[in-house]
Assembly symmetry: C2
Homo-oligomer: 234 residues x 2
């Protein structure tokens, strides 16, 4: 494939772009619902949990430790404080299990990253618990293919601006690809970069946003493996 003359850096999201993540959160939510089945039905629990997660986001940020604290808080609220210490212990435990889930790369992730790495400087940009993201990056076996790895608190336009500045690259020479229109695409378009939506069948409720279909620097691929061809054609 020929190298695009429009780009210097290709940046990729990690969770649910390179490896599965939401899948493991969903399994944990099922466990959470089973543990509290005597107190509320699954749908109501799911709804309360997401409300509490949303409320806590400003304080906890993204990641499994905050999610575990939100599960505990939901259990307390839903039972009016009557939840037992043993049930809380099990919630702590399912949080710990989530923190140790194995890394399952998305189909073709390694090949795609290897292909891109032959022509571009690659950057991994992810958000959430620093400690947990570092573990996943190490276990993915992909770290060496990236020139830069940036873990940010939240994927705002300002955060991307800072990352690109540190890398010494103009935003219009960067393409960012990921499964969240809200976090991976819109903020990058906003500061003048390219944004590519790589849909994943499971995407967290918070990450939903409308595709900016008319935007001149927006693209969408059917799968991650289509990315090298799209990039080469820009």
């Amino acid at each position: 494939m020929s190298k695009s003359t429009a780009l210097d850096i290709v940046a990729l999201d990690a969770d649910d772009t390179l490896w599965e993540n939401e899948h493991f959160f969903r399994l944990t939510e099922k466990d959470f619902q089973s543990l509290l089945a005597d107190h509320a039905d699954p749908d109501h629990l799911a709804e309360r949990l997401i409300e509490i997660e949303r409320r806590n986001l400003r304080l906890y940020g993204f990641g499994i430790k905050g999610f575990t604290l939100s599960m505990i808080e939901t259990a307390i609220e839903i039972t009016n404080g009557e939840v037992s210490g043993k049930t809380i212990a099990e919630l702590v435990e399912i949080g710990r299990t989530l923190m140790q889930h194995p890394i399952h790369l998305v189909a073709g992730a390694r090949e795609t990253v290897e292909t891109l790495a032959t022509d571009y400087s690659l950057m991994l940009i992810t958000k959430g618990d620093l400690f947990d993201q570092e573990r996943k990056i190490a276990q993915s076996g992909l770290a060496d293919l990236f020139d830069r790895i940036e873990i940010v608190g939240d994927k705002t336009p300002e955060a991307y601006q800072r990352v690109f500045e540190t890398a010494g690259v103009a935003p219009d020479r960067v393409l960012m690809a990921g499964n969240s229109v809200k976090s991976d695409v819109l903020p990058v378009l906003d500061i003048g970069g390219w944004g590519v939506f790589v849909p994943h069948p499971l995407t967290w409720a918070f990450e939903h946003a409308e595709e900016p279909a008319q935007h001149v620097r927006f693209r969408r691929v059917g799968a991650l493996t289509d990315l090298p061809e799209l990039v080469a054609g820009l």
Copy 2:
């Protein structure tokens, strides 16, 4: 003051070097001990908590969310699971309060950083919850004085190596100063940099380590405000 010809970058730790941190953890521990006073005496609680924190470090890393989860786990263990949901709710709450504690700069911190910034490229290197550290950095009002801010999962020699590499500086042209011999001094000496110990009356039990008094690139200052003079003399 004259500029040292030995150094390009001065790097500083944040928690308990530039601003108070351990002080707020100690207040929270007191609240924790009061909440569980019916179940165990304060010393025993403190001991169990630190054991559980140590055990969890590998999984949670550093930071308040992990600390809150460790308090919850300690409460469950110490009561054999009999702790009430209401007490757990209070533990979650004191964790949240800790996350919102105000920033109290160490005496002379701003002036010291301003003085150093006139002669050196400054770097802030801290560890812990990304989200929480970002909040504290923003609220400190010192962010603009630093050329680079790096939040790392743990302060290992490898982490420093990576940070210095990214900054394009040789380790022997960097001086790192902080209140933890273990985290701020030893790993930097280890990779060939300068390490300055800035003692703080409160330092977390995990951070204790012997001062490498004989090391040629080790220094110790009485207070942060002595740092510019020490640096200029190198």
